[in-house]
Point group: C2
Chain length 426, copies 2
């Protein structure tokens, strides 16, 4: 991991309550800047905040009076106070769907909710994280936004950059499906295919950051990663506020790098510390596909170390074989009394159909993973059906149509009533 | 057109302010019921309301305190007052995007906004209309929801019915693209392929309504059409409220059957009558694809009659060659001082890319039609760039990927800096 020097003077950095970067491993603090690894121990840097001076009820009122997007939580994010006035996609404040039909099917009696992030502008939770990276890029004076991606992120970066007036140069494996290339290319920036797999793309991006050619470039998931990652906290804030400023008892989160799960925990902890919700126990459950289940395997084996896997699953947006935040996910699942579980590709498809059939929500494969894992955890007696449970759907089924391509017509008939009756549909 | 008898006693019909059905042609009134054609003259029936007793400022407050979906306007829709408590997809309250970048490209100085209905639950405006039909179906005691569709509507009906607990039986041409079949089938109801084209599907549905086999079936766009169509009024309400209870000067609306445009006009007129906005002139512009432009052709020729066309355009969701509301669209365009214009398939693709590149909105082909027509109307001096203008995007680009399939990689490189430099991207 390359440690980049801070490009601009940090005296002028205005990212709201963000006070510094702090190493998750050794606690070493550095000023806010486009850096992502600790200069002391190479651990990951994350945002440290100064929330002092916040009055709980004033803060709650300010949030409730805010816009119907993530910027209602600007006082808790690494963004300038006037962020809502700057051109961006205004993601978030997606629906928390009370899933009574699904609850009946799964035997949940304590209240079941689906946090449906397919309602975001580019139809995945990535809009939340990209929006944070964008503000950091503005503050640090970057003029080009970049990332390595297998699809969803490329679209989210392309769309956000278009609205905000940034140049983009996004890197993807050259042999992605045509549909994903279109979704990423439509926003008109440079889209570069790399002859190699996603690991090759990542390695190349790290090389580019250290090179003069990459100067002035903000890689949302590399040198802007500490800012980017905080966007997932907004999922926690919204869930709690939409439940009436109440913590859920149980929450089921998909695991790719594991970052989202750790930031949801961070967000819930902040709400408790700020007095916005009652301090009560909650359990966080991680969900993986069997074909890419390094964290689930480690959890079940009682290991602290996550052994990398070579992914082979239809849940491609979760297919990170060596998840950077895997050990932190294990910590959180164990500390909160949760668990990490995985489901097969067949169970993922079944769960996508179950969610669509019961709630009218067409989820990406990642949503099939969380719903499938929820069902499995209930069957195994690990998740308590009498408790309030929130399941995340982080993307849209329109992006992973191939996974359910077998779904089709009930019948084919000629356009007359006799043919209709013969088909037994009356 | 078959005239169906009213299935249930209308004494018990509670659809809020909806008072009766009224013939658009002869004014003949009939009680609320699942009928769609006048028994006197076979003209189309539409909802007549009783808005008496509304106090303007009370109504405004009630709306503003309502939920962030179409049900904030329940007092103005044919739905029971407690509609928001019933399980449904809660569509609407989509973003009105201030499109400053697009405005610069098009030379608009008076304020340009995109009403982006891709933010609806199934990513098209169809969720608005289906939600109304669903409430009517509940009230009339239907247990099966049905429709004829070429894709978008089938998905909207499937999703809404799943959430609300209706059985569905949806009819589509049997040879639709596999992706559209998946989008419609995923919600688990019956999806029946008809050996024939969309006209054959429509004719079959009309036959089924008159047959005992179709008893208890609500066809959202046939026998529930008067209720269904009112959903488009919510676009007008939202635009005005999101502009700060102000009418836009100009609004560009796509034309398929023409129903949406007529209901937007109806909605704006209601806001004026209710005193919720200032009574001032506005112009409504209709947008078609050249390959299916019967209304545009009639407008330009100065005709009152719309001559049917055989559609041939990539804008398939607008490809209705014999639009039922065509004459009403002509009336409204002429009365308000608007116009109807069309663009070629090439201009549609260019406009999709323009909107994506400037505002990060990936529109369906129908959105390409409205943006393309807006550009053309400005170039021709018909649309005034100094006035506040709203352009509708009624669907999502993910649903019409084929239309922009040529969009692709800027470059393909090997994963090293030399290859990157050779490509001239630095």
């Amino acid at each position: 991991m390359a440690v980049q020097t801070v490009a601009s003077s940090t005296d002028s950095v205005n990212l709201g309550p963000a006070a510094a970067l702090s190493c998750r491993e050794c606690g070493h603090r550095v000023p806010l800047g486009p850096v992502f690894a600790c200069e002391e121990c190479f651990g990951p840097l994350e945002i440290a905040y100064d929330f002092s001076g916040y009055d709980t009820e004033e803060l709650r009122k300010r949030i409730e009076a805010g816009p119907a997007n993530i910027w209602r939580y600007a006082p808790l994010l690494p963004v300038p106070a006037d962020v809502a006035d700057k051109p961006n996609l205004n993601p978030g404040w997606t629906k928390l769907v009370q899933a009574d039909n699904l609850a009946r099917e799964l035997g949940v009696t304590g209240g079941l909710y689906v946090k449906d992030d397919s309602g975001n502008p580019t139809h995945s939770f990535k809009d939340r994280v990209v929006a944070q990276a964008l503000e950091a890029a503005r503050v640090f004076g970057f003029t080009t936004l970049s990332c390595s991606s297998t699809g969803n992120l490329a679209g989210a970066v392309g769309a956000a950059a278009a609205r905000a007036g940034f140049r983009t140069c996004v890197f993807i494996p050259h042999d992605l499906e045509q549909g994903k290339i279109v979704m990423a290319a439509i926003y008109g920036g440079d889209l570069v295919g790399i002859e190699g797999n996603y690991d090759d793309v990542n390695r190349f991006c790290s090389e580019l950051i250290g090179d003069p050619a990459g100067e002035g470039w903000g890689f949302v998931n590399v040198n802007l990663r500490p800012y980017y990652a905080e966007g997932s906290k907004t999922l926690a804030y919204e869930i709690a506020e939409q439940l009436g400023w109440r913590l859920p008892d149980q929450i089921v989160v998909p695991i790719a790098s594991g970052s989202q799960l750790t930031k949801i925990d961070k967000g819930l902890q902040e709400l408790i510390k700020l007095g916005l919700v009652e301090d009560k126990p909650y359990k966080i459950f991680g969900a993986q596909a069997e074909g890419c289940s390094p964290v689930s395997v480690a959890f079940k084996a009682g290991n602290d170390v996550v052994r990398p896997q070579k992914p082979n699953t239809i849940a491609k947006s979760l297919a990170i074989g060596n998840p950077a935040d895997g050990p932190y996910v294990l910590d959180i699942a164990r500390r909160t009394g949760g668990a990490v579980e995985d489901v097969t590709d067949e169970e993922i498809v079944d769960a996508i159909k179950l969610l669509a059939r019961t709630e009218g929500i067409f989820a990406e494969t990642a949503g099939g993973v969380t719903v499938g894992v929820t069902r499995k955890l209930i069957e195994n007696g690990v998740l308590d059906p009498a408790k309030t449970t929130v399941v995340l759907n982080t993307g849209d089924g329109l992006k992973t149509l191939d996974a359910v391509a077998g779904t089709g017509l009930t019948a084919t008939i000629r356009p007359n009533l006799d043919s209709f009756r013969e088909a037994g549909l009356a």
